[in-house]
């Protein structure tokens, strides 16, 4: 026991056999225990890192002869230096005008939500349906999930994400995250980067 040995002893008189104390000084033990405790608390990793899944198609052997899918409702997002982003709707031609936006809540997310509102509302409906179904009823659940897949497949909005040499990895991940948050069903990171016309358009925007 942690105990101060207050001196003294009996002031004379009969001599008794000294009573041996069975108590052990625990202070060093406690010190050690807490030292170890602190060590383990500080070194242990509790939360495992989270991951964002990205799936890339296999490399095409013959990219020239591939059929180009028809895109009716396209949105192209261009990521460039200093965390700046531009986007344009539909196909690229001489009259295309770039709009600048940013990674804030009222920036690109607002744009994506507006464009994807139809699908978002549908998905919310399905979620409500799912909440009503009891957990044991897996058949009904998979039925709703099939509906979700179908709605996602029918969604016409296609988002292309293009980057130039100066865009950082963080920009790309932030962009992917926004696409996940806004529940875009079809989005593709484009390997080839900017097209020549896009490059000049972005250059003009950066200069001004």
């Amino acid at each position: 026991m942690a105990e101060l040995q207050t001196g003294g002893g009996d002031s004379g008189g009969k001599k008794r056999a000294k009573k041996q104390s069975t108590r052990v000084d625990m202070t060093p033990l406690v010190d050690l225990a807490f030292l170890l405790l602190t060590f383990f608390v500080l070194t242990s990793t509790f939360s495992k890192p989270k991951v964002l899944r990205m799936i890339f198609p296999e490399k095409l052997k013959d990219p020239i002869n591939q059929k180009v899918p028809e895109v009716k409702n396209g949105l192209t997002i261009l990521l460039t230096e200093n965390n700046r982003i531009f986007f344009y709707n539909g196909a690229l031609d001489k009259n295309t005008v770039l709009t600048e936006t940013d990674f804030s809540k009222d920036g690109i997310r607002k744009v994506l939500v507006e464009r994807n509102l139809g699908l978002i509302k549908q998905l919310q409906e399905f979620e409500k349906e799912l909440d009503k179904i009891p957990a044991a009823d897996t058949a009904a659940k998979s039925k709703v999930l099939a509906k979700v897949k179908d709605a996602q497949r029918k969604s016409t909005l296609v988002v292309l994400v293009k980057t130039d040499d100066k865009a950082t990895y963080k920009n790309m991940i932030d962009m992917m995250d926004e696409l996940l948050i806004t529940q875009i069903a079809k989005y593709f990171p484009v390997d080839e980067g900017f097209m020549p016309l896009e490059k000049t358009l972005v250059q003009n925007q950066l200069k001004s």
Partner: protein, 227 residues
């Protein structure tokens, strides 16, 4: 007036419960904690709002801001098998069994297999310094694709991951035990947020050549938006 005599008491305190508790906590933390693997490079991954946890077993490619690649495989058996295959195909002398075991425990490495023999001879503190100054796994694909070391690592790991999965499945069947299907080696990328995306893209391109399509991008946690 008589003097007030303060009772001479010793400030004793029964510490037993406290010690009990302290050791209980120590035991708890000792048993639950997994140590952070030694990392030759410090990368600061970007944050995202996903809540998907990292798979149990991964082939981890760490990319730092300068574009150096360090790789690690969390399954030691597979790691040794893959290295043996690469050494064989590149006609580099095999290491001793002991060195293979040591290699498996080293954590992420970022050196060419040609340097491996010299690397293994170093003392552990020299090794850390060597790793920090290393150039990373070469991933230049300008010559033939199977000359690229990163490609070989990715390809062999993909094949071995499949073998390893099948082996464990059969073993579980023989012993009549439950088999954990989620325990498949997957490809994870942990890149620094400041790294140019182009660099990451060209590294992913190497993996895609090896027919790896599914990537787990490791990110820090960010609170998800409300609404």
């Amino acid at each position: 007036m008589p003097k007030v005599k303060m009772p001479r008491s010793t400030p004793a305190l029964d510490m037993t419960p406290m010690v009990d508790l302290a050791f209980l906590l120590v035991t708890f933390f000792m048993l639950t904690s997994s140590f952070r693997a030694p990392e030759p490079v410090i990368v600061d991954p970007p944050t995202s709002t996903t809540e998907v946890q990292i798979p149990k077993q991964v082939f981890l490619a760490t990319i730092d801001a300068k574009g150096r690649v360090f790789i690690d495989i969390t399954n030691n058996n597979v790691k040794i098998k893959v290295l043996k295959k690469i050494l064989k195909s590149r006609k580099v002398a095999q290491l001793s069994e002991e060195d293979f075991k040591k290699f498996a425990g080293l954590g992420p490495i970022g050196i060419s297999v040609k340097e491996l023999a010299t690397f293994m001879e170093l003392e552990s503190n020299e090794r850390t310094a060597y790793s920090e100054a290393a150039k990373g796994i070469p991933y230049d694909t300008s010559s033939k694709i199977n000359q690229c070391e990163l490609y070989e690592w990715a390809l062999e790991t993909r094949l071995e991951a499949h073998n390893d999965f099948k082996e464990r499945e059969e073993e579980a069947k023989l012993k009549n035990m439950e088999f954990d299907k989620s325990n498949y080696i997957q490809f994870a990328i942990k890149a620094d947020g400041k790294a140019p995306y182009k660099t990451v893209q060209s590294i992913i391109a190497v993996f895609r050549e090896a027919k790896v399509k599914n990537f787990q991008m490791i990110t820090g946690l960010e609170s998800s938006p409300t609404n």
